[in-house]
Symmetry: C2
Subunit: 677 residues, 2 copies
């Protein structure tokens, strides 16, 4: 075990974390791939150039994707026979790390391999793999993922593009019926894509079989649109300007029958439709679910981007001094308010990193085939839908607070924070709008909750009698509480006797359970109402349902944090991380303190103590802040922000020397005498 | 009175606002100047070009400042004898409106006239005015305002640049002693400024008389730095890239004695220092206070930028449909969650607009000389320090929520929201970091609170006995409660009997009073402690003090909103605005519901009702949302966002026609038959 150096006598008395051990824990299951990716992106060729004009930035991002191919970093998920590594979790981990090089590269890669390539792999079958997979992996076939339409973002089921089968020619005819049906916001579509995986309503023999995906060539070798294909550039965006987003539309574009990616639905030569999934609804959600990796990887990228921001802000706050406190100027991080701004957010990044690794494991288990069941797929989708909104919203909050905590210096592009903020902005609405995703989670929680009342009467009675009723939806779906969160041994190390780990858990879990029960009770009349009135009732409680879904995701993060601490061997490290976990847990409780008070879960006395616990935890963790961000293990080539380079400390020392020399010289000006009264 | 058209039977039954009357109220005291400015910036020459490369954007902003001169919009604040209009409040109102043209133009103008020109006007005397005021006003003399240093942002008193008087030459010698003393983040300094108002420690006869301001030429006519002056460009920033920020440093740069802007401190030929203000501390704060207009105008610009964002998001949410609800696709604004996202923020913009007009009136009263007392200056500074943090932080929140509420379309630069967000970002840390400003307010509140205990014992006893003790600081400083907030006649129109206007006020004001009393009690031992321990005690309560300052600012906004409603004649308009004010007030109460519960100000039953009141107010205001944003009175040349242009509605109608025609033709594909069980 490596013990970090202690800097002061006070420090020496206190536990310090074992930084390398914490790094291992944070990097998680695919630490090796993460380290490989970080090593690769030390090459300045991968770095975002701040202020670069859009056209050049796009060209640079394109070239970077070719560099990824050269480094063998583009096809880890593909089957070995197509040059891949058959490594699902590691593949996403590697891509996530690109966010600190340039989020545009991360997203352009995500479009090419996580969406376009993945659609071929997941929705296509062997002939498609044989024909396109290697070319896509090696960037000989840059592609767009044409799902979203101007008129339909989140509601994919209602897209209007049609693919009508013509049995005489054995071709599908792709058509855009009106302006709102143009495909929109598609990465790579603005300039570089030569093909697209196009989602359209499959119509054959006069019947619409719902949304399917088709491989459609769109540009010739000179970059001109093929006949019948049109489009336009989406123009400048709020960030990610290295990605060439654009619009596409189709007018009678014909593709061979074989271009239907036919894993979940096929059309025979005579136009007969067939599918291994009889239910149109389940078929649709299975196809969309095959593309969940986008959401999964955004959760990781948002978390690691947040870690970079915390690294910059904490390092600067630990060097920068401002205002004389009587004993020389004070470090920013010594201010109570500054601690309150940064420390809880640092705790959040930790929680997210641990929760994300669990999500990746789940993803890997399903997509590697090791545990590919319907239930697991649904759990995975719900887990991704719960975590991605939290981490992407948190990223915007964390990066912004970091930028403000660095003052004017934080606003300079060279210090990375504003660029990161701009690039991460769209993460909250793409790959599933966060509010829409939370609604999915909420509906799943409601469904799980309802299940307990739908079994044999004896089971229902038993569940209710056992007071475990409220937990059934929890156990049924997202996390096996009994399996993972068992050992509350960390309790004894909680800093405050008032709210130990199990009490934090009770409050957080109790809130989710009660909120779902309340919404369920409020919605019970809906089934007996006409559809419009039922929808109106649901709408009245939409805000509450989303709040419950959010609380559920936060609970999962808290549990993942707690489980991760149990896996740490070093006792001192566990102590400090338990403080950090307590800060995370108490922060969640403080955020909804009014709920716990109204629900009678906390007395006013105990509730009043929560904020001062948090203040004390912030102060206690202050001396660990640098260690905790150092454990993210970013090197200078990843951080790059001049304010986090030590330059600030050098400037301060130079200033101190100047004043010391001046005083010693006897030439220092005197202070203005006090005015005579 | 103009009554707006009613669109549905339900609308017809309900009150509608008198839009022009509300516009008048929002535009406030200087509505005329605002309208003039808005008319001027209909010219596309003033519009920000999204995605424009930095060099071109800077050039464009420079040219726009010349256009302002041509329109006579640059010197409204100057004395008439220098070609000005002697209109203090109107001058700021006019500049604030530029934010919807391009925030870079607003800030570049602010640097030139609100800081550089204003330093000459406010800190200089007649010879300075004669020599430079017209040239600065007419952009023949572009200047930088050189106060902030790399090493000292908020703590101006500690800047390290020196201006040492040389009596032999009758010159000041300006020096930058070390790297941390470089002037930094200065608008116009990167490229365009030919002179700067430089803040430096004035040293004469071996004594440092503290920070003073000097007029220093920095560039020759060809744009080269003059001898002894150096600097560099700050490079790309997170926004406002039309402003050329830069750094400056000085090595033995000599300026004539007359270049000291000597209104508050002068040096005679022989080096003798004199000042009309004996106390060095008061002199310093008086000089800084003379430059308060930057903060005042940011409050207005942030508010009107937020109004633009709400206009875009509400208009789009009122046209865009998504997901079929059983009765056709639902407008976004019909969703409960969407209402919860937008309506409270709309209420906040209203509160801010009304509060800002009061701030402008106060500013005008002081700077026009009509009510220029020490007390009024201090009140003005405290009021600006209370409101600017709230409105600038709110702007980031409001613009971001608006962008997310517009989904992917919101991320396209053409729809304005991301650019606005990036440009407004730095408003929260410049012209006084928001946290530092709130601390100023907090300290003022503490001082006012303490005063009640420092008077003659009889007064103290009377105050305590009268239960008005807690209000003394309130009456002493920021707002004469008895003068303005008298008539609670709007109460009867409050939508909920549960929390009428006076109850909202009691809760909001009671919270400020109690929080300040609590912090004061906690800090009482500080005066008896050694300085470092006293500072540590203060630090422990810093977060609470800032929260109290924030609550104080929110109360002022609430009061301003309430007073503004009283000035509206039309009863229906008052009704709707009272709902909106209730939404604002209840939103503030909900945000800190835990405080009111813990303090025993609200029972759990009443507290639990607050959120459902808010839900109902949101739903009730939904049909007024368009009217309420239309009252901001932005025209297409101000809005410019394609998604708020009606194009979305046209696309929806085209899609609906397509499906109707298809159905009528009998050629519509059939739905997939349900699978056989």
């Amino acid at each position: 075990m490596t013990v970090t150096a202690t800097e002061t006598a006070i420090d020496a008395l206190e536990a310090r974390i074992d930084i390398p051990a914490v790094t291992d824990a944070l990097l998680g299951t695919w630490a090796g791939v993460r380290r490989e990716a970080r090593e690769m992106i030390k090459d300045p060729a991968f770095w975002r150039i701040e202020g670069q004009p859009i056209a050049e930035h796009r060209q640079r991002a394109l070239e970077q994707t070719h560099l990824l191919v050269q480094h063998g970093a583009s096809a880890r998920a593909n089957p070995v026979e197509y040059g891949g590594g058959d490594n699902q979790g590691g593949n996403l981990a590697g891509f996530e790390e690109l966010v600190v090089a340039d989020p545009s590269l991360q997203i352009k890669s995500g479009v090419q391999w996580g969406l376009f390539g993945s659609a071929i792999l997941q929705l296509g079958t062997k002939p498609h793999h044989d024909e396109w997979l290697r070319d896509a992996a090696e960037m000989r076939l840059p592609g767009a993922f044409a799902m979203t339409e101007t008129g339909h973002g989140s509601d994919v089921q209602s897209i209007a593009t049609t693919a009508t089968y013509d049995p005489d020619a054995q071709e599908f005819v792709i058509d855009t019926p009106f302006r709102g049906a143009w495909k929109d916001y598609l990465g790579n579509a603005g300039q570089h894509a030569t093909a697209a995986t196009v989602f359209a309503q499959l119509i054959t023999n006069g019947v619409n079989y719902g949304v399917h995906c088709f491989f459609v060539p769109i540009r010739d070798e000179s970059g001109e649109f093929l006949p019948g294909v049109g489009g336009e550039d989406d123009g400048p965006k709020g960030g990610l300007n290295g990605v060439d987003n654009g619009r596409l539309h189709f007018d009678g574009v014909r593709v061979p029958r074989a271009n239907l990616l036919n894993r979940y639905g096929d059309v025979a030569a005579d136009g007969t439709y067939s599918s291994p999934i009889a239910s149109p609804g389940r078929r649709f959600f299975t196809m969309l679910g095959a593309l969940v990796q986008g959401r999964v990887s955004l959760d990781g990228a948002a978390t690691w981007g947040s870690a970079l921001a915390m690294t910059i802000a904490v390092t600067y706050g630990n060097q920068r001094r401002q205002f004389d406190n009587g004993s020389g100027e004070t470090y920013l991080l010594d201010y109570g308010r500054h601690q309150r701004r940064l420390m809880p957010r640092l705790a959040t990044v930790y929680a997210q990193a641990f929760a994300h690794d669990e999500l990746l494991q789940k993803f890997d288990a399903v997509f590697s085939g090791a545990a590919d069941t319907d239930d697991n797929r649904q759990d995975l989708e719900t887990l991704a839908a719960a975590l991605k909104p939290l981490s992407t919203w948190n990223a915007l909050d964390i990066v912004q607070e970091a930028r403000e905590a660095c003052g004017g210096a934080g606003f300079l592009a060279e210090n990375r924070l504003t660029g990161l903020r701009s690039d991460l902005d769209v993460y909250v609405t793409f790959e599933g709008d966060n509010n829409v995703l939370l609604q999915l989670v909420g509906k799943r929680l409601l469904a799980d909750y309802a299940k307990q009342f739908s079994g044999p009467p004896a089971d229902v009675a038993k569940a209710v009698a056992g007071q475990t009723a409220g937990r059934i939806y929890h156990a049924a779906g997202l996390r096996r509480l009994g399996q993972a969160f068992t050992d509350l041994g960390s309790t004894a190390r909680s800093v405050e006797l008032g709210l130990r780990a199990e009490q934090q858990h009770d409050l957080l879990a109790g809130r989710v359970e009660q909120m779902i029960a309340d919404v369920a009770a409020a919605l019970r009349p809906a089934s007996k109402l006409p559809p419009a009135e039922g929808a109106a009732l649901f709408n009245q409680h939409q805000n509450d349902l989303l709040a419950a879904a959010r609380a559920h995701g936060e609970l999962l993060q808290w549990e993942a944090f707690t489980d991760a601490i149990e896996r740490i061997d070093d006792a001192d490290t566990r102590t400090v991380l338990t403080w950090l976990r307590d800060l995370f847990g108490l922060g969640l409780i403080e955020e909804h303190l009014e709920w716990h008070l109204i629900a009678g879960r906390l007395s006013t006395q105990r509730a009043a103590a929560v904020s001062s616990y948090i203040d004390r935890l912030c102060a206690r963790l202050r001396n660990h802040a640098q260690d905790l961000v150092d454990a993210f293990a970013y090197e200078p080539e990843h951080v790059r922000a001049p304010i986090a380079s030590g330059a600030e400390r050098e400037r301060q020392e130079e200033a101190a020397r100047h004043y010391a020399d001046l005083a010693a010289s006897g030439r220092a000006p005197k202070k203005e005498p006090k005015p005579k009264k």
